[in-house]
């Protein structure tokens, strides 16, 4: 391509540089007074002299081209939606079968509805598409009854077969559903999904052997292999939402690539939730409108809903402050959180998520549990939480966050302090007279300021208390993941967020050979305790098994817990219906706008000491049609 300029400028044949050599041309000195002053007269009206047919033609052409390009943008502002929130990143897909991730879950919960949903306050399962269910005495057979008259957004009746078909599709290997494994507790589901039995032996794939069956119009039966106290939580998960069979079959019949995703387009997507998909522009927004055929349409206040994709935290905050976004969460700029925390619209609450360091137990000296424990003891968690993060995060004393979930009480990690850490190192032969010198340890993290800052605090503690040389190594996200799963690290920054409120999700990561173990750690007793917990129907005994397992984990420390997360939400003070919960899973479809009197009552009731902020939005409020004037 360098030939372009050579062909054009015979005088400068050898200039092959990309930049047209302009800066290197030395402006020749012109006797400026002599030459420039008569010319200066022309500059009084610089544009008038623009002459010459070709020049004018070129200019006109350029102007037309630029104007045409501008017209391509089709300016015209979409009217603001009744409610707008920020996703932070573009969703991967709106197909419940293919989905993972928090932003996806937010949009799917607006568009679709599963058999059950979680109460936004208590996180307990509540009736949704199913109005009632029962379990048999063994706790393995669930029978759901769908709402009579329930319909899809195109008017088709919503029947039990739709759910059977959707679950079957989720489990079919061709769907490649990432969350298919959530259904593995169902009889025959794992075999149908993977073609392999529980021990990796080949198994026949036969839907008739899977324990999911539509009995008659509104009745669906699901049979589990063993009782599972969290199966209803699984069903409330966004991957378990139904899809419209005729739409998908039409898509499958289509031969072009475009036809296969056509069912997900605005205007085409048939859903069964409070909203329908009205518009979508990548990296801009997903526009949704109220679904008049939803069974509880009268309980939905917002006629339009915008899920924005503002990826810059500071822009998102600007838009919130300008009243263009009504609810912000994960995307707050971390450096501003300490200041935002004083505002009345800032809500922080315990989050079922743990920040921890994976330790590569295959690398000496980290193969010695005493060394790992010494490292765990020499971390200044208090400084990380109260000086660095400052939004209410707490130092972690266990892998299961916030010291337990529900009735489960987590055992506590040894808290002997730096003195105990030095003793442990001495026992392991790394301190004291004649001891070998500990090799440097590398902290590995994905590139982000906050992870670097935390790593620096940790490194300073290890250096100060234990005299260990620490290096930091950051990697771009996908490379970091490869490094971690390839065990090519010493200590690696990690986190885990619960999909549903079950302590087991934080422990099962570390089962032998699990995809998410990534530490090289393995303990047969730990595996056996988790297996025993899975087979246990009685909650108290199950929790006891899990606590034993966690105690083992905290003794061996293949993962060093550092802090427990908090949810951080900025919610317009005028919005009603918001409840912070431990899964950071509020339900905007049940929110509404307060009118001025209600806002005043709400403000009068809030604890003092928070800064009042502006509450943009409709002053006369916006309530669901069924609203009876009561605070819901």
């Amino acid at each position: 391509m360098g030939g372009r300029r050579r062909a054009a400028l015979p005088l400068a044949r050898d200039s092959g540089k990309l930049s047209p050599a302009a800066p290197t041309i030395k402006p020749q000195r012109i006797g400026s007074k002599r030459l420039a002053s008569p010319l200066h007269a022309a500059s009084l009206s610089p544009m008038r002299g623009m002459a010459g047919g070709r020049g004018a033609l070129a200019c006109a052409g350029l102007a037309t081209a630029l104007g045409g390009l501008l017209a391509l943008a089709r300016p015209g502002e979409a009217p603001r939606a009744d409610f707008a929130f920020n996703l932070g990143t573009e969703v991967t897909t709106l197909d419940p079968g293919a989905v993972t991730g928090v932003p996806e879950g937010r949009v799917l919960r607006a568009l679709f509805e599963g058999l059950v949903r979680r109460d936004p306050r208590t996180l307990q399962p509540r009736p949704a598409a199913a109005e009632a269910w029962e379990t048999d005495e063994s706790g393995t057979v669930y029978t759901f009854r769908l709402r009579s008259g329930a319909r899809w957004s195109n008017g088709d009746p919503l029947r039990a077969e739709d759910f059977e078909w959707s679950f079957r599709r989720l489990l079919e290997p061709e769907t490649a559903a990432p969350y298919a494994y959530l259904l593995w507790p169902v009889i025959g589901a794992r075999e149908f999904n993977t073609g392999l039995g529980a021990n990796g032996e080949p198994a026949e794939r036969d839907w008739a052997r899977v324990g999911i069956r539509a009995l008659d119009g509104p009745t669906l039966r699901i049979e589990l292999r063993q009782p599972s106290p969290h199966f209803l939580d699984v069903l409330a998960f966004y991957a378990m939402m139904p899809v419209h069979r005729p739409s998908l079959e039409a898509a499958r019949a289509g031969s072009s690539r475009r036809a296969q995703v056509d069912w997900l387009r605005p205007g085409r997507l048939v859903s069964n939730g409070p909203f329908v998909l009205a518009g979508r522009r990548i990296n801009d927004r997903i526009r949704m409108t109220r679904n008049p055929l939803y069974w509880d349409a009268d309980g939905v206040a917002f006629r339009t809903l915008d899920a924005l994709v503002v990826s810059s935290p500071s822009t998102a905050l600007d838009l919130y402050l300008a009243g263009e976004i009504d609810w912000l969460d994960a995307t707050l700029p971390p450096e501003l959180v300490p200041r935002l925390a004083q505002r009345e619209d800032f809500h922080a609450a315990p989050y079922l998520a743990t920040y921890f360091y994976r330790v590569n137990v295959t690398r000496p000296p980290l193969d010695d549990p005493r060394v790992r424990k010494a490292l765990a003891l020499a971390i200044d968690r208090e400084a990380i939480c109260s000086k660095l993060l400052q939004a209410g995060q707490r130092p972690a004393s266990s892998m299961v966050p916030w010291g337990g979930i529900g009735d489960y009480v987590a055992p506590r990690m040894d808290a002997g302090g730096a003195e105990r850490a030095r003793e442990l190192l001495a026992e392991a032969g790394w301190r004291g007279p004649g001891a070998r010198e500990l090799p440097p340890i590398e902290i590995h993290y994905n590139t982000a300021d906050v992870h670097r800052d935390i790593a620096e605090v940790v490194a300073a503690g290890w250096k100060r208390e234990l005299g260990i040389e620490v290096r930091l190594r950051n990697q771009e996200w996908k490379v970091y993941l490869d490094t971690q799963s390839g065990l090519a690290y010493d200590v690696s920054r990690s986190s885990w967020i619960a999909d549903y409120a079950d302590p087991a999700t934080f422990l099962e990561i570390f089962e032998t050979g699990g995809e998410n173990n990534r530490t090289g750690w393995s303990d047969a007793r730990f595996d056996a305790l988790l297996a025993a917990a899975r087979a246990e129907a009685e909650p108290a005994r199950r929790n006891a098994r899990l606590a034993e397992a966690e105690a083992l984990l905290l003794e061996a420390l293949p993962a060093i817990p550092i802090y427990w997360y908090v949810t951080q939400n900025l919610v317009n003070p005028r919005l009603g219906g918001f409840h912070a919960n431990a899964l950071n899973d509020p339900l905007p479809s049940s929110w509404y706008w307060m009118d001025d009197p209600e806002l005043e009552r709400r403000r009068a009731a809030q604890p003092p000491g928070r800064t009042r902020v502006a509450a943009p939005g409709p002053r006369e409020g916006l309530h669901a049609p069924a609203h009876a004037g009561l605070d819901r």
């Binding site: 999904n193 993977t194 690539r257 990296n283 822009t315 300008a322 490869d482 990534r518």
Partner: protein
Amino acid sequence: MSRFLLRRLAWFGVTFWAVVTVSFFMMRAVPGGPFGSDRALPAAIERAVRARYHLDWPLWRQYLDYLGPLDLSEHGAFGTRERVLGGVLAGDLGPSLKYRDFTVNDVIAQSLPVSMALGAAALAWALAVGITCGLLAALRPGGRTDAALRLAASAGIALPNFALAGLLVLVFVYWLPIFPVAGWGSWRQLALPALALGAPFAAYAARLTRTGMLEVLSQDWIRAARAKGMPPRTIVFRHALRGALLPVVSWLGPAAAGVLTGSLVIEQIFHVPGTGSHFVNSALNRDYTLAMGVTIVYMVLVYGFNTLVDVTYALLDPRVRLGARS
């Protein structure tokens, strides 16, 4: 002229093939994959996901399938023959691995007009202001106007996009609330991003114009024209400016391709759904097909603009003959 364009077309084919091939294999050589996540999938499910996008095929087969023109999948030319043609040569850039509800063609069709509109606005003001300022500066080199404009131009080039954008938001959104914070759709929302995006281009255009003008004004034929008594205005605008714009025009080719395909920084700060962020994010997401798609679009634009530049050269400079061998 037509011989020149034909030769350009032939070279386009070669360039196209080289860009597709090199970027295909470079992309696949990068560690990490499109489905990597901190919650790893069970092995059986991961296999199914990879198979769905044919990432389980040997690399040569993936490459041939991507390049086309034959579709090598089970529905393709050698399978059920539902889709005989496929791949880039058949105009199919494949499914996006990150934005799975869209094909790469869709993603580009959605974002490129946005970037082009923003880029066009930025380029329009940058050229108008830049060339005017360059001209003014060149007419009195060393004067006060010249010094001020050169300072402004240096600042425009040195000041990074995000700093200028932040400054503009501070001034025009918070201090003087004239423009909206961010977003895309209205003329008012176009102003700040176009200003921030165009500033370095205006500065560069001014510098190139000034240098070009100074060089041309020192030529003998200008002196001859002056000696003949030609009015200064005619000398500047009819004769000198044309030659002075040559460096601007040749810089404009690649620069326009760059500015019309968007800027990650500007798009993030002003929440503009353009193509610029896809250049960076597709690589970060290992969205192989989208990364290839935007690379191909960029390559086509650069090639097209460079050809256009050469044609413009012939229009501006009577000494240039396109396609002449010597």
